[in-house]
Amino acid sequence: MNQNSGFDSHEIKAGELEPAVHAGRSTDESREESGSQSVVPLLECRRLTMRYAGNRDALSDIYLKIYGGRIIGLLGPNGSGKTTFIKLVCGLLRPTSGEVLINGHEPGVKSKLAVSYLPDRIYLNDWMRVHQLVSFFEDFYDNFDAEKAYSMISRLGINAGDKLKNMSKGTKEKVQLILTMSRNASLYLLDEPIGGVDPAARDFILSTILTNYNPGATVILSTHIISDVERILDDVIFLSNGKIMLAGAADDIRAKNGCSIDDLFREVFKC
């Protein structure tokens, strides 16, 4: 698989017919190649590197351009840098070097309004009731659609008067997903959205993602359970040891390698 690992720039663009991966040497070059100077990418990473104190690089030298309207799988084994990448994009971490730009701006108040983030853990306090959480999101995010949230809540049979404290972990995860997907954001970052739930709930979650994100927006979802999500992915990014190993349109990758993304993943990351 190493024929692809020499790439240091990757571009994922809406409605593009040619292969979405660009083997440019730098972002500037690849921008010239694709002739898209006028369009600011939704998400752009330049030489993005993250090193935690005393450790090896969690991410090194990531070049990436992502445009609107895609569902992108961020795939890689545990510890490959998926969560670090997502935390950098939503501003929970500052890069050691390089930069990450959302709509051309560094993570800040503006980008946080544009990005809807679902972390890989329960981030809601347990004393609030569901309807209080809905008002919380409504208060802070102008683009939060409370009506949409309530319709999903009732469809799932969750009682809006219930306290988080009395819910199972799976229900809490569903509440979080509902809150995240009820925002009309331009970039959804979902970290392991199907990690801890049963297969039936997985289908629900995937259909929630598919039916609720606004069409101009891009969804990046990280996972190592590929078989369930493969069918909804437009593009995939393979992360390995903090580096992009492979990135491009899912169909192209399947055609080129003659196997499913899931099989490819198993082959590439064989233990």
Binding site: Y52, A53, K87, C90, G91, L92, L93, R94, V109, K110, K112, L113, V115, Y117, P119, R121, I122, Y123, L124, N125, W127, Q132, F136, D139, F140, Y141
Partner: protein, 272 residues
Amino acid sequence: MLTKLLKYEFLSTGRIFLPLYLTLVGVSAILKLFITIERSIDLMIVPQVLFTLLYVVLIVAVFALVYILACMRFYRNLLGDEGYLMHTLPVKPYEHVLAKLITSIVWMLASIAVAILSVIVLAYQKGFFRDMFNMLGQLLEAIGVYWSKPSFTFTVVSCLVLAVVTTVTGFMMFYASMAVGQLLRGHRIVGSILAYFGFYTISQIISLIMVLVLSRTEIWEALEAGNLSLINMGAWNPFSAFFAIAACLNLVLCVSYFVITNYMLRRKLNLE
């Protein structure tokens, strides 16, 4: 956004403070009842002792909880798992710090008010307020005899300012310690405690320097002699000067802690 943060800050802390305040006032009322009845029934001494103990515990709790909750809210809400939500809200980091700080200050003031209220409940008897106002009047009269009023007022005000600034600095020192302590990955509480001792040492060194500098001035002589009549020297007498200098130093510390906390949340945040 700050007002929205404050709203949820008060929602979260109010559900603990309000019941506690009600309990404190209730217990002082019951205690007052027992004290009143005790005169007629001997056995009443047992519940009276129990409720006195409970009252003391509650008074301590009302103030201790201001600090405990200040730390817990900051640590859990901004540095724990809830931080994943708080730090992805479209809010500037300093607004988070301000929201926490303002909430703590308000609860401190509320705790003082409720503690005073509970004492009034305990001490109340017929003509209580009349007696109190009489006493206050006499006090003011006495002040008029010994000290010139403007300089005394100024001294008291500078003392109050010092008290307020010191309290605020105390909260900020906790926040800054936790914001620095989270850098120690995997041992964040130990890190916070170490950072606290670090800040404490620095503030002690600064006050030592202040004392050493002041000891060469007339202010120190007057303070050592405890000669309160020196307040008559005017608005800037040795006492008000001392309070003002101490308040300024505390203010500098407070602002430094704020800047450190804000920098850590903005640039060095590392949630687990």
